[in-house]
């Protein structure tokens, strides 16, 4: 089976600042992956590289065996909920329907797809409501519905529980829990409590990435990685074709190869 996501030797920096260094990462299809790490550690940048909104300075990114651009229509993206003009005149159903763009489908079919997606997030009653009257949590669920309306093979969520209250956070996490196993889900969070719900595969991102060994709870080391108190270990000898001397590097003390 083709890999959902494959990054090889990816480095990226904005202007002068290096944000990600020598990232190798493979994700199988159908996994539920949590990208955790401190703010400013490069989680969102990594996401944008996978989405093809940024191009790596070095290395390669493949999504479902294709370039990110070619895989756009297979990815459903759920951005953070407060990035919108709060006064934009748009109904909930219109927002969800945006997920149908880019497909050759009839308007009636798009409408049905949008209805189903809204039902899936438990908000069918809000279809005709003005988007800007919703609470933060409802808005986030509508954006998840829009992501689902794209009928994605990979769903990518950027901090879906940021700026929502505890009850809404639970609802959103339950909703994501229900998607587990149905498609590949990539979730960015800086919150250890969110990460603790999805321990199947935790990728810590802080300049480098480190795939945390499967665990049944958030242990001390994972906690320190998520909060950024402890730098992440170097990733292990990368591809043989690489020219820079990654293979000879000694991992920091106390670190075992992943």
């Amino acid at each position: 089976m083709t890999l959902a996501v494959e990054l090889r030797g990816v480095s990226f920096g904005y202007e002068s600042e290096r944000v990600l260094r020598d990232v190798d990462l493979t994700i199988d299809q159908g996994r539920f992956v949590c990208f955790a790490g401190p703010n400013g550690g490069g989680k969102s940048t990594l996401f944008r590289l996978i989405l093809g909104l940024l191009r790596p300075d070095r290395g390669s990114v493949r999504v479902l065996g294709r370039t990110p651009e070619d895989a756009h229509l297979s990815m459903g993206y759920v951005p953070q909920n407060f990035a919108f003009d709060p006064r934009f005149p748009v109904r909930v159903s219109d927002v969800v329907r945006m997920g149908c763009l880019g497909r050759r489908s009839r308007r009636a079919e798009d409408r049905r797809t949008a209805e189903r997606a809204l039902e899936e997030v438990g908000l069918p009653q809000l279809a005709n409501v003005w988007f800007n009257t919703l609470s933060g949590g409802q808005r986030q669920r509508v954006l998840i519905a829009r992501g689902l309306a794209t009928r994605p093979e990979i769903l990518l969520l950027d901090e879906p529980t940021a700026n929502v209250d505890a009850v809404a956070e639970q609802e959103i996490l339950d909703l994501l829990e229900a998607l587990r196993g149905k498609l590949t889900v990539l979730l960015v969070t800086h919150s250890a409590s969110v990460a603790s719900r999805f321990l199947e595969m935790i990728v810590c991102v802080n300049r480098r990435v480190h795939i945390h060994p499967p665990a049944d709870k958030v242990d001390d080391q994972l906690m320190r990685h998520i909060c950024g108190y402890e730098p992440l270990p170097e990733q292990h000898p990368p591809l043989p074709s690489r020219t820079r001397g990654g293979a000879g590097r000694v991992p920091p003390a106390g670190e075992s190869p992943p």
């Binding site: 229509l73 005149p89 880019g102």
Partner: protein, 284 residues
């Protein structure tokens, strides 16, 4: 008011003024909605001032060289589309600060226009009517052009409704759905340029920006979708255009400023009303 009604009944000039005003209102409502929601009103204002360059240059070659093409409105269209193209190119393809480029285009357009107007021999009353509009003067000759441009705007807005909505609401998501975001942005700027030219015939280039944003600003308080906002602002724009025309006719006031004062007052009233209403709700 009755004078105006009488004039509309009897004179083709007044009747055409009303028709042009109504046609321009359609463009105003549709494109104004995009301009306001996408927050590009400064681009619209910049393009509006470049219209002067087109008007002036066209008039110059008409009078001095005896060319029949372009006539002033065609010149205005060319200049507006050119200005929109330059601004679009700067914002999409260069790392230049967008607002600096907008300001530069704005001022250069204005300056070029004035230079041409001063080089055109003869009576230069044109300048005032370009700046503040003279709908009774232009209406007769440009009825069909206005109609054609209107049809174009309505068609584009109807065909690309969902795409333009998505691009205005969340450009990044639209890009991920493989929409050619840059192309839609340029299309939006082109529609804006055409609308600016239509409205400048009604109220003049200095006042265009008010007519492009104020009716939409009022409509935005009530509309729940872009479609509703478009229809409502078309209606508001049409009402104030016709009202302004008729009120200015009797006392022989300039129509453009009359329309703007009415629309502006309505906008301020609606803002004050919303503020008071919001306070009442908060107080319970």
């Amino acid at each position: 008011m009755t004078d105006f009604l009488h004039a509309v009944m009897t004179s083709a000039l007044a009747r055409n003024a009303v028709i042009i005003g109504l046609l321009a209102s359609v463009a105003c409502g549709i494109v104004g909605t995009y301009v306001v929601t996408r927050r590009i009103s400064y681009i619209a204002a910049s393009v509006a001032h470049c219209v002067l360059a087109g008007l002036g240059a066209a008039r110059y070659v008409n009078v001095v060289h005896g060319w029949t093409f372009p006539n002033p409105v065609q010149g205005a269209l060319i200049a507006a589309l050119l200005a929109a193209g330059v601004i679009g190119w700067v914002s999409l393809r260069t790392r230049e600060r967008e607002d600096t480029a907008i300001g530069a285009v704005w001022a250069i357009g204005m300056a070029v226009g004035i230079l041409f107007i001063y080089q055109t021999p003869g009576y230069n009353q044109d300048l005032m009517s370009y700046l503040f509009g003279n709908i009774l003067l232009v209406s007769n000759r440009y009825l069909y052009l206005t109609l054609a441009l209107d049809v174009f705007i309505v068609a584009v807005a109807a065909i690309f409704y969902y795409q333009l909505q998505a691009v205005c609401f969340d450009e990044e998501f639209a890009r991920l759905r493989n929409l050619r975001v840059g192309l839609y942005y340029l299309l939006l700027l082109a529609l804006t340029a055409i609308t600016v030219v239509l409205l400048s015939m009604v109220v003049g280039i200095v006042l265009v920006i008010a007519l492009l944003t104020l009716p939409t600003g009022i409509a935005g308080r009530f509309a729940r979708s872009m479609g509703q906002m478009m229809m409502l602002s078309c209606l508001i724009c049409a009402v104030f255009t016709v009202l302004g025309l008729s009120l200015s006719y009797g006392p022989d006031l300039p129509a453009g400023p009359t329309i703007i004062v009415l629309t502006g007052a309505a906008y301020l009233l609606s803002a004050a009303g919303c503020y008071a209403w919001g306070k009442r709700i908060r107080r319970g």
